[in-house]
């Protein structure tokens, strides 16, 4: 069902475009936002005050977008995503929360953006690891740069897929990375790491940004930590949803996957379970023409 030549549009969500996928993304958003220490934890207050128009590329069900609109009423926040289901959900949430500064529409991040040049003070993209093919990053960055105002910020956040002491979880991670390699979704040279964080600053530099900076964060979901329940849920649900992808790419077969997923759910319950996800945010400024 899945091969290297299949249309990237169809496979935009490797987990499938489903309600379960949406639940997965909503939980993930909540936990990442918290573990990162806020919505824009690296930006000083004067910078945040000067941000009025925000674009969130590939916003999913709008977790970050909605929180931003709520926290900063002076901003107009626009999110788009390929999934109509995700966008419907985000719109309903915006309406229910009486947010008239959050706007959502369906669009493909791999196509030219439907905005004039210099439209936004902040253009943000989060967690496209495993979603955006390797080949699509540089074109997307060019579009992000184009629609950013001079002096505005482009901000990228991605994570490596975690470090744990669970045998089954590590095996499942490695299978997922191999499947990503097979479908042109991973930059990994050796299949041990997902490999995205080393690229973020270089993407920004190559597209023309200046004053590029980085900020790491961790999500510690070891047993006993505050994020343990959420982190475990992200993992078990994630691999459940990813099963068709792992089978389709033939990196694994059903008996092995079933066995690993059973073992994973047991190991996640152990008091000795340890797990950390490393996330990196990189941001840079679009220079003004005169500088």
């Amino acid at each position: 069902m899945m091969d290297n030549t299949s249309s990237q549009d169809e496979n935009y969500y490797i987990l499938g475009d489903s309600n379960a996928e949406m639940v997965h993304l909503i939980i993930t958003d909540r936990h990442f936002n918290r573990s990162m220490g806020g919505l824009l934890p690296e930006q000083p207050n004067p910078v945040i005050s000067s941000i009025h128009d925000v674009l969130d590329v590939g916003c999913g069900p709008g977790g970050w977008t909605l929180e931003l609109a709520q926290a900063y009423p002076h901003m107009q926040v626009t999110g788009f995503d390929l999934s109509a289901g995700m966008i419907d959900y985000a719109r309903v949430q915006a309406h229910a929360s009486l947010l008239d500064n959050a706007h959502f529409f369906v669009a493909n991040a791999m196509k030219p953006f439907d905005f004039p040049n210099d439209s936004f003070d902040l253009v943000n993209v989060r967690h496209l690891e495993g979603v955006l093919p390797v080949a699509a990053w540089s074109e997307m960055l060019k579009e992000m740069f184009r629609v950013t105002r001079q002096g505005g910020i482009i901000r990228l956040t991605d994570c490596e897929w975690g470090v744990t002491n669970s045998f089954a979880n590590e095996k499942l991670l490695e299978l997922a990375i191999h499947a990503m390699q097979a479908t042109g979704m991973s930059h990994s040279p050796d299949g041990r790491n997902y490999n995205i964080t080393h690229l973020l600053s270089r993407f920004l530099r190559d597209v023309g940004c200046v004053n590029i900076q980085e900020r790491p964060s961790i999500l510690d979901y070891s047993a006993g930590e505050q994020e343990y329940q959420g982190g475990s849920r992200i993992l078990t649900l994630g691999y459940e949803l990813m099963e068709p992808f792992l089978l389709g790419t033939q990196v694994s077969a059903r008996p092995e996957l079933d066995q690993l997923r059973r073992q994973q759910s047991l190991e996640l319950l152990e008091d000795s379970f340890r797990g950390i996800i490393y996330t990196l945010t990189a941001w840079g400024t679009k220079p003004s023409v005169r500088s």
Binding site: E170, H198, E270
Partner: protein, 285 residues
């Protein structure tokens, strides 16, 4: 985790005690230290500790920097390697540093210091130097020589994320070899998995208020940390080659070829690498 991994590891322990000494693998903290001069960047409200012990102090680089930055602090470094100890002493003397001493002592055996001797026991990037099974007793010993109210501080990293196939390959060999010799916290050697283990190692040794700080060191070709850390990678992978061969994860011929390839990839204009590492610290009650 004492799960399925143990039995799998037991079958494969032919080389569990390497005859080759494994050096400090990483120095991910040094670029930040050199740039900011801030020796304990995560300690916001602690006044400079009076007595600091540095574990496996090697050539004394960290000890000397801290000694220079805080002249009121008495620094002690311990290491088993006599040559490195002498190198450290010579450096301290050459730099006119009078508040650092270096002692030949095995940092992973009971320490020849009285209980509560130090305000801070500092251990940077020990992963690989000792078997996983001995970490708890080693950390307990660090806590013993710390005074009540003082703290133990551990720095450890995972292997870098890089676009260099040769560096990634050597990282993989190292990860496998450490797993084969029971020096990896990973259940089968995909990564080192040391960083998620630290917090609980300190808690289990009796530390309180254990906190962690994440850092990233970008040592891509266009970054200021590149010169320093690409040199460190070259040194590390030169020194660990005999260990990799002894552990059976590569051959002399292969590792030499990959090493040469790594040296050239490290210097390439498009070389990219980031390393994530943690500082984890806790108070002795």
């Amino acid at each position: 985790m004492a799960l399925s991994s143990d039995s799998q590891q037991d079958e494969n322990t032919a080389h569990s005690t390497p005859s080759v000494k494994i050096p400090r693998l990483f120095h991910f903290d040094l670029p930040e230290l050199e740039q900011t001069g801030n020796t304990l960047p995560e300690q916001r409200e602690v006044s400079a500790p009076h007595r600091i012990l540095d574990i496996a102090s090697g050539n004394g680089e960290w000890v000397i920097r801290v000694a220079q930055a805080s002249p009121q602090t008495q620094m002690a470094g311990i290491d088993t390697d006599i040559e490195l100890i002498e190198q450290a002493r010579a450096q301290a003397e050459a730099k006119g540093v009078g508040n650092a001493s270096f002692i030949i002592m095995d940092p992973f055996q009971p320490l020849k210091f009285a209980e509560g001797t130090f305000d801070l026991v500092n251990a940077r990037f020990l992963v690989g130097q000792l078997p996983v099974s001995t970490w708890p007793q080693v950390i307990t010993e660090f806590v013993r020589v710390t005074r009540p109210g003082g703290f133990v501080r551990l720095l450890e990293g995972e292997l870098p994320i890089t676009n260099s196939p040769a560096l990634a390959k050597l990282d993989g060999m190292l990860s496998d070899a450490l797993y084969q010799t029971k020096r990896s916290f990973s259940p089968y050697g995909r990564l080192l998995s040391i960083t998620p283990a630290l917090k609980h190692l300190l808690q289990d040794a009796g530390c309180q208020n254990v906190q962690q700080r994440v850092a990233v060191t970008n040592f891509s070709a266009d970054q200021s940390a590149h010169a320093r850390l690409s040199q460190d990678m070259a040194t590390t992978y030169r020194l660990v080659q005999p260990f990799l061969i002894e552990a059976g994860v590569t051959t002399q011929e292969e590792v030499e070829q990959v090493y040469q390839q790594m040296l050239s990839e490290l210097q390439a204009e498009d070389f990219l690498a980031v390393a994530f590492w943690l500082t984890v610290w806790g108070n002795k009650p």
